[in-house]
């Protein structure tokens, strides 16, 4: 965690690296945005790099915004808190039981320790095993701690795009990009943990490709 976001390439378009500082320029420069995007789209040439689709590693993919780790930790922390409270309540209810499994307070402490461990550790792993990259014609997603999934979403298959933020994500200025296709399993592919500027930028890049004949 804690890899610097600024200055890292976030989008690779037609071979050129665009950094976050360039992106900020785009975002501040709202009026010329439409024109800018159109020229970008025209400049794109389909270049298929076969090794990209055969990839087995996260190398060369974009990372999520590091802030998402905090968001995930808060969310799983809240969930663990509920589990700990349940454990405490059960322990109190069984306070005067003659054949208790453990002395009072031990079980809630164990639950707390396990929950804390997972709440701190799993978000870190999730962040580590998430990568995406927007290419000229497709979006690549590689993700999963145990179940590793590699997905290619052709941009011309996109039905519509949503950027969404829940209350925690809003606090840390991250958001998720939801890509809807007509497919069954891929009817909504979620790309979480993008800094909100990047999410909106990606959405604007990708929406150029939404066509009527997505079927």
């Amino acid at each position: 965690m804690g890899r610097p976001l600024r200055g890292r390439p976030i989008l690779i378009l037609s071979g050129e690296y665009r950094t976050i500082s360039m992106l900020e320029d785009d975002v501040s420069d709202q009026e010329s945005e439409g024109q800018h995007d159109a020229s970008l789209t025209a400049a794109r040439v389909p270049d298929l790099n076969r090794s990209d689709f055969q990839r087995a590693s996260f190398e060369g993919l974009q990372d999520l915004a590091p802030a998402i780790v905090k968001v995930w930790r808060i969310k799983s922390g809240l969930f663990s808190a509920v589990l700990v409270i349940i454990a405490v309540v059960l322990d109190i209810l069984n306070l005067f039981d003659s054949d208790k499994l453990a002395p009072f307070g031990v079980i809630p402490l164990v639950v707390l320790a396990i929950a804390l461990f997972f709440a701190l550790w799993i978000p870190r792993l999730r962040y580590k095993y998430w990568g995406y990259d927007l290419r000229a014609q497709e979006l690549l997603l590689v993700r999963g701690i145990l179940n590793r999934v590699h997905t290619i979403i052709p941009l011309r298959r996109i039905q519509h795009l949503d950027v969404s933020q829940d209350i925690f994500e809003r606090e840390f200025e991250v958001g998720k990009l939801i890509i809807h296709t007509a497919g069954t399993r891929s009817s909504d592919v979620i790309l979480p943990g993008l800094s909100i500027d990047v999410a909106e930028k990606l959405r604007d890049e990708m929406k150029e490709f939404i066509t009527d004949e997505a079927l």
Partner: protein, 495 residues
């Protein structure tokens, strides 16, 4: 009929039909009284009376309050007894008008008209019931008005009425199409003989409990007189009685499968007219529909071991409606020979059935056996708490292994420049032919265990695919999966 501002009403026979439809519920409520006239089932009596007092006025008021207009620009429907609803459907938004005639409507000469727009999967407006003549006129008028609207504007094929062409359409019959298949009654009955349905039997027997006289009395009556010795033999031996019971249920299940098939596929006919498939079938409820070829997302050939042994298959078309959520599987050939299926596939422009299938990794046998055995052992060890001899269930493990073997043998994939094909299933056999240009997303998945063995699962998503039976290629070597993913995507890009 001309589009006008005058209000129209439903057919008066609507009242009769609704009354007939609502009587079974009343009979069900009053069942204890009907069965035993002496009983004072006061609650049922009161409930029945309340039902009559609500339903009868409701049916009449519904008819009285229902009005509709076919104006030159829109279809207006005013309906509702307590909550009044006024619905205006602009003519240019109407995608499809469906006319449906269930058996009762066919007797009375009425029909149900359902108006569909692009916005929703369910019917936007329903007229229950108008006369068949009126129904056809409404459809004709709407179509004419759409033609007039369209003649001024750009011709837009997707917006036309004929999206899912309509039931009982005399026009469709007038068009000369290429007939792809017509099922003879003999074939329909044969198809039913392969379709074993216990579900209807279960429903039938659960209904029997409510019927007087008791079925056992009926069987006693059936086996009277000279058959009396049989009855005593059956009653003397519980094994024989059990065997006969199972045999009878199986026979009835088999018979009901045949009847269901006959009802559904009687006079099944499918033909190609222009770029649309027209399909008509049905004994009790006639249905006639159209599948535009470009809505077809993939081709599914289904079978089961018994059907396959005798060389019979079923062809389904995975389709996608105007509405994305409105997907479905349209049966193109309910029961046919492989040659017939291949003929239809070639007419529809699909790839052929691959002559050779590539196998998946042999490791899949081990993985499947281990996975299911672990589940079984966990289940049995819990079951042992209550039923000690449950460990006999471990004898199922060899059966799991045999199933895993059969599963491996039946799994395969093949691909050429236009189609990716997947084959799976032991008892329900599936073959998917997925056209490259219809693919949606491309994904490769590997669980922790799969990665340890160097295996992956490949899945090419299509629109409207079933979420239950997936066209997945499970457990192929990862390098092969990577190569397949890359080559499929390359073909997709160049398509």
């Amino acid at each position: 009929m001309k589009p006008s501002d005058s209000a129209r009403r439903l057919h008066p026979l609507t009242i009769v039909q609704r009354l007939i439809v609502s009587t079974p519920a009343l009979i069900f409520i009053l069942l204890p009284i009907i069965r035993n006239p002496d009983s004072a089932a006061l609650f049922n009596l009161l409930f029945g009376a309340a039902y009559v007092m609500v339903v009868l006025p409701w049916i009449i008021l519904y008819y009285v309050r229902f009005r509709y207009w076919v104006t030159p620009t829109e279809l207006i429907i005013h309906s509702g007894v307590v909550t009044r609803r006024r619905r205006n459907i602009p003519v240019e938004r109407i995608q499809n008008i469906e006319i449906e005639q269930a058996p009762l409507q066919r007797i009375l000469g009425t029909a149900k008209v359902a108006v569909y727009t692009a916005g929703s999967a369910s019917a936007e407006g329903v007229l229950e019931y108008v006369s068949l003549k009126e129904a056809r006129e409404i459809r004709e008028v709407v179509r004419e008005m759409q033609q007039e609207l369209k003649s001024g504007t750009v011709k837009d094929e997707t917006n036309s009425l004929s999206e899912q062409e309509v039931l009982l359409d005399p026009e469709v019959k007038a068009h000369a199409g290429v007939e792809l298949l017509r099922l003879s009654t003999k074939r329909v009955l044969l198809a039913g003989a392969f379709k074993f349905s216990l579900l209807y039997i279960a429903a039938f027997f659960s209904l029997l409990q409510y019927i007087e006289p008791d079925p056992t009395v009926f069987f006693a009556w059936l086996l009277r007189g000279p058959l009396q010795p049989w009855r005593t033999t059956i009653e003397a031996s519980p094994w024989l009685a059990g065997f006969l019971g199972v045999f009878l249920a199986a026979f009835l299940g088999w018979l009901s499968g045949i009847l269901i098939s006959l009802n559904r596929y009687h006079r099944f006919r499918i033909e190609l007219i222009g770029d649309k498939l027209h399909r008509a079938h049905g004994l009790m409820t006639l249905s006639e529909g159209t599948i535009p070829l470009r809505r077809i997302q993939s081709f599914i050939i289904r079978s089961n071991p018994l059907m396959q042994y005798f060389g019979w298959y079923r062809l389904e078309l995975q389709t996608m409606g105007i509405n994305l959520k409105e997907s479905g599987f349209q049966v193109a050939i309910p029961f046919g020979r492989m040659t017939e299926i291949q003929h239809v596939l070639s007419v529809l422009g699909s790839g052929d059935m691959p002559p050779v299938w590539n196998p998946v990794s042999v490791l899949t046998i081990r993985r499947f056996t281990v996975r299911l055995s672990v589940v079984l052992i966990l289940f049995l060890s819990i079951l042992r708490i209550w039923i000690p001899p449950a460990y006999w269930g471990l004898l199922l493990i060899p059966i799991i292994f045999l199933f895993a073997l059969a599963r491996y043998r039946n799994m395969g994939y093949a691909h050429d420049s236009s189609t990716f094909s997947v084959r799976t299933g032991v008892f329900r056999k599936y073959v998917w032919l997925i056209p490259v240009e219809k693919m949606q997303t491309f994904s490769r998945r590997a669980s922790l265990f799969q990665r340890r063995l160097g295996l992956s699962t490949l899945y090419l998503d299509t629109a409207g695919a079933s979420p239950v039976s997936l066209a997945e290629v499970v457990d192929i070597p990862s390098s092969e999966a990577q190569e397949l993913l890359a080559s499929s995507y390359e073909r997709f890009v160049s398509s």
